[in-house]
Symmetry: C2
């Protein structure tokens, strides 16, 4: 893998990197302009503003406490990273510093996403009430555009600064940057996911089921918490997650690009997302709702137009910047390879763009209210909740299979482009970059969902939005359900592409470490089975089994955490109905803040267990069983994780929209037996689609990056002078104990629902 | 892998194999004696006999039609097997013939299991009515014992005959035997699983939900079909499945044993299950219910006593028969290895026995009505069906994780026993043999479930069993739910052990084929990436992803098939209520036979798609992408399949028993809101635990054996003189088209529930 290629920048290389940095800054500037535009829109009535401010306060308070909690964790990991082997002191310091930068950017994006969304919701509600659908949709989509451009802008800025400053050492420093981004995003996804669904499920169980009052009714003490949840989960968590997808995919391409294509391989992966930023700007500005079409059609059109522009510009970039023969790259390891690097790079990028488009279509097909699968799920409500659950699970399984096969085809397609393994890995990473060119528009699409949902909440709670205005918001919300499922599909695709490519980096790290441990040590055959990652070896296969198991455990922990935290909400809302007279009559207001506090406390407590599992499980497997089984572990987690993530996201999306279909008057409409059946489906789907499912994407990336970072240390402790089985086993046991302790502690907190 | 070891039998070797064959015949004889004992028991009242005979007829008719349908398939595969590469004509003929023998034995065991169970149910009901609990339990358990001994007897007989006749060629012939057993068992598991759950769910939806009449009410036209289903699914399908587990694990040990331990390695794996047969006989005869203890405690005691006896006898066998140094084996490839083969073999067997005991305990813990997890699932019924579903899914995920980790630990433990890869593989296979020593008792335990269930049905429908007798049968049924879940856990463990071991056989087949394709051909580097099964290579990883996807697709297809077939049942029962006057008043009998016919037709039609997927998916991947990705594919399927199988089995078992807890009077008892919530949980769990989940075990084995069988052909078409990419790609495309066509056809048959 290591080509021994010396990376040096010519003046024109530097100029390009600087231009990329400038493009990143332009994206941030336009993000700011869009934001100012959103904030300038009308804020609605005083009652609407009051509700919105309560949501803003709750969300800000939650994120503030979350960052303080995670701060401790970040400091610990910062210290551990400093201890891990590195090739030079500069690399060591850079890796740790940029770990902090990655984590900080991830947090900043999450905070910004939440901040703007909580301000946009009331403006969208006001626009739907006074100015009509086009204006409401425009505000929602521009808010998303602002967050999307901030996401891509910060990701690109971070990467270009690292490349400019560290040049040849950039790959190692970028590992730190990507790891920081992924780790923080994972915690935000898990914590936010628990918050949003605990509040949602808890509010529904007492409000809709026990008291028979509608969703977002101001008499329900959990309504503000429910709306806060939409923002900290679906906005903050999602924005951080997509930022991390962006950062890690970029990091994988830069690491592999320099190995395969030399200096040009370090710069081309920066050009592609820079083009993506430009087209995202176009995409956000051209989005205009037409009166005759659905909201999804409008969003799809922007996506396809921006994807097409990206493809054309990437072709130009590839043919202008890259040579037409491998010899022209001046990299010893690829000298004489057949094929045209410009064509190979261009086709790789196109594979990524096409993959994004196919996932967009496939997810829309399985979850949209206008398509057969979700309509059939809605129809099974006639035979009760059991058939709704079974048909939704079937839809989830089926869509997961096709999504996984499409992602697999993209990886295999990119792999086939070249006869050389590490050029192939770079192609896979470039396909990831192609996928990235669409992230700006994707974030804009996704942010759309929670903003519409929240605008509906503000409208309902204030009671001051006209019926026509409310209908506009309901329609926008249904579009949001599908766009949210699409984003999750795209995010998991980036996880597979980045993880597959990072395997190259993993092998490289092991190879380097083995080489520096000395040739003689390699003869110690007894220890060597730890390094064999051939899948037919039983220890690798055990790794695959453990990797698959961790995905199930993580999903189970996330679902359990939601039901525990929801139980606490149920008890508090019941208590308020009992202790505070006049809530039901509307003469007294419930204490919204208390519920927000309870969910905040519980979510922060609950995010620890799945988070610790993600960081410590690869440490336990790697130090305990060796780098071969660890490779198997990663493969098992990627395989099972991909299927599970899409299954959870799409079955949940389909149940939610099946409920919307029944609420629109099909099969008996609101209040019918069929409606109750779909409400049960939606409640089961809530933690699937908004807690467990979306967290699997950052989970996979965190586990991959932890593995890349610890690989040299495992090798050092296994062969050569530094070999020390006792230390190796102790590290593994400590990791196992941390995981067991975390699980035991979370089990102790028996669910209020169950005990 | 290939040690070039010449296998020759001395006189004493032959004597041992003959003794093993005699033990197998003794098992069959005792099976016959037990059967005669069961048949001699009182048959109950004429009304009870009439019901039982209707069930017998329906079950026999279904299996008869199933065998005719599968006959075509068996003939086609027989022909294909004949065409695949083989080392000699004798091997080729033997492999095909013993494929037929394996399939025939599998079918015979299934048929016998069904035949005896349908006769035992009425006798258990009669005993519960007149002679009390001990006698009822004894008849049920002895019926299981008869089936269990037939299963082990036929498996052992087949293997010992092959070893005796084919000696050195035995491994290849055994591949055919195992494949025949696994293929037929898979179809019987899928077909029977669809039948039993379509009838069950259909009967419940119209009977319990629409008409409000109890389970097994004679006015419901689907009751006989429901009882037929218990026999063709839970008895015939299960017996065939465990026979196949037995056969395939034995085959894997014999193949790997001859490579690692020479002649002694071919004979020792026959001695271990022969010991298992002896202890199973003891286990069946010592099972006596004590008045003071639960049924599960009685069964567990027999299990632990037989396991202990097996362990002691296996120790004796290992130390008497095997040498204490590797040099003593006289096998060139293992000369000079450190360690004591007798100790290594003994410890491997113990690992398998302990694994069985741990899975028994773990599954009991998660699904039994007396334990916390299922009690908590029952408690969540207070907050409605959604929380029942979520808590059951959590229990399923959690138990799957721990079961997978325990199985992984067993594989890793056996792997660590030796420094040499192929000794390690043999150790894993021997652990499988250890697990096998418990199969006789396991089958006895499992058969117990459907017999109790059916006896309850006969009692309910005849209306002639006393209240006390009915309570005895209800208690036995709850024990049956747990024993069924345990069997599925053990079965999936055999799948992992056998599959891991068979990987050795797979590598061996590739290595042999590469060698015979000629050294020069190996330089054709372009094609070589197809043979690399290193997990860090992207094409292997794509294989892992596809393997995981196939498990999800297979599970989704099975669940869908049940809901489609259940829809047809619902329509027919509704029609009978409408068209035949007097059913509801009991003055007119419904047409039970019509429903049996409909379910028979639909199940046979529905089993084709998942069955074809299992056989053709590895062909598509192997010929299309190469042997490396095919290895990844198998690993992905094993990893995801293990988790999914246990998840589906245990969440289903837990929901069923949570319902029983509520029906026993907890949380409101029968007819309460909580009861409806647990009925929804149980209905979701039905296709999970009895259709999709248990079919994953034979699925994994079929895919593994297909891969082992096609590996040489893939190599031949990829390198050397026989290389022909066009043919290779065409075979792959044909396989893909078969799968697509099967899925499209099954999609066309839109569910009556949904379309």
């Amino acid at each position: 893998m290591d080509t021994g290629q010396v990376i040096t920048f010519t003046g024109s290389d530097k100029t390009i990197v600087v231009i990329v940095g400038v493009v990143a800054l332009v994206a941030l500037a336009i993000s700011f302009v869009l934001r100012a535009g959103v904030l300038a829109a009308g804020k609605g009535s005083p009652r609407m503003q009051e509700i919105s401010e309560a949501v803003q306060e709750g969300a800000a308070a939650y994120l503030g406490r979350q960052f303080r909690t995670l701060g401790i964790f970040v400091v610990v990991v910062f210290a551990l990273l400093f201890v891990l082997p590195a090739n030079s002191t500069g690399e060591r310091i850079g890796r740790s510093i940029f770990f902090l930068v990655g984590a900080g950017f991830s947090a900043a994006i999450g905070y910004t996403g939440m901040w703007l969304a909580t301000r946009a919701n009331v403006r969208v509600a006001a626009a739907a009430n006074g100015e009509g659908r086009e204006r409401a949709m425009q505000i929602a989509f521009r808010t998303g555009g602002s967050v999307g451009l901030a996401t891509t802008g910060l990701g690109l800025l971070g990467a270009s600064v690292v490349v400019l400053v560290y040049v040849a050492e950039a790959p190692k420093v970028l590992e730190g940057f990507g790891f920081g981004a992924a780790m923080l995003a994972m915690f935000m996804r898990v914590g936010g996911g628990i918050f949003t669904k605990a509040a949602d499920v808890g509010a529904d169980l007492v409000g809709k089921v026990e008291q028979g009052i509608p969703e977002d009714d101001p008499r329900n003490a959990a309504t503000i918490a429910d709306n806060v949840g939409d923002n900290v989960g679906d906005c903050a968590g999602m924005a951080a997650d997509l930022f991390e997808s962006y950062a890690v995919t970029l990091v994988a391409s830069l690491i592999l690009g320099s190995a395969a294509f030399g200096t040009k391989g370090l710069i081309f992966p920066l050009i592609v997302p820079a083009i993506g930023v430009l087209t995202a700007i176009i995409g956000v500005y051209i989005t205009r709702a037409r009166a005759s079409e659905s909201g999804l059609a409008t969003i799809n059109r922007s996506f396809y137009i921006s994807a097409l522009i990206s493809a054309v510009l990437c072709a130009v970039a590839a043919f202008v910047y890259l040579p037409t023969t491998f010899d022209g790259l001046g990299v010893a390891a690829v000298q004489g390879l057949p094929g045209n690097p410009a064509v190979i790079a261009f086709v790789s990028v196109i594979i990524g763009i096409v993959l994004a488009a196919v996932i967009l279509w496939l997810t829309g097909y399985y979850t949209d209210t206008n398509k057969k699968p979700t309509q059939e799920v809605a129809k099974t409500s006639l035979t009760g909740a059991a058939t709704v659950i079974l048909s939704g699970i079937s839809v989830g399984f089926e869509s997961a299979v096709y999504t996984a096969l499409v992602i697999g085809a993209a990886v295999y397609g990119a792999f086939l482009l070249s006869g050389s393994l590490f050029v192939a890995l770079f192609c896979i990473a470039l396909a990831g970059c192609g996928l990235l060119t669409t992230v700006g528009v994707i974030v804009a699409m996704d942010t759309f969902g929670p903003i519409s949902d929240n605008a509906q909440g503000v409208a309902e709670m204030s009671g001051e939005v006209s019926e026509e205005g409310a209908q506009i918001l309901t329609d926008l919300d249904a579009v949001g359900n599908t766009t949210k499922a699409i984003t999750k599909g795209i995010a998991i695709a980036t996880a597979v592409l980045a993880a597959t490519a990072l395997f190259g980096s993993y092998s490289n790290a092991i190879g380097d470490a083995l080489a520096s441990a000395g040739g003689a040590a390699l003869d110690a055959a007894a220890g060597m089975s730890s390094f064999i990652s051939d899948i037919v070896s039983p220890n690798t296969l055990v790794g695959v089994l453990i990797g698959a198991a961790v995905v199930f455990l993580f999903s189970g922990l996330a679902v359990n955490a939601v039901s525990r935290a929801a139980g606490a909400v149920v008890n508090e809302v019941r208590r308020q109905f009992r202790d505070i007279p006049g809530i039901m009559e509307g003469t007294n207001k419930p204490e919204y803040g208390k519920v927000v506090d309870i969910v905040t406390r519980d979510s922060l407590r609950e995010l620890a267990t799945p988070g610790l599992l993600a960081v410590f499980a690869p440490i336990a497997v790697g130090f305990g069983l060796g780098t071969g089984p660890l490779a198997g572990y990663l493969a098992g987690a990627i395989g099972t994780g991909t299927l599970m993530a899409v299954f959870l996201a799409n079955s949940g999306g389909s149940w939610d929209n099946a409920k919307k279909l029944v609420e629109d008057g099909h099969y008996g409409g609101k209040g019918s037996e069929a409606h109750s059946a779909t409400v049960i489906g939606d409640t089961v789907g809530d933690p699937f689609k908004d807690t467990a499912g979306p967290a699997i994407n950052p989970l996979i990336k965190v586990m991959n990056l932890v593995s890349v970072l610890i690989a040299p240390a495992i090798v050092t402790l296994t062969v050569g002078d530094g070999a020390n089985d006792a230390v190796r086993i102790i590290i593994s046991l400590v990791a196992v104990l941390v995981i067991i302790a975390a699980i035991v502690v979370s089990k102790r907190r028996a669910s209020v629902l169950t005990g």
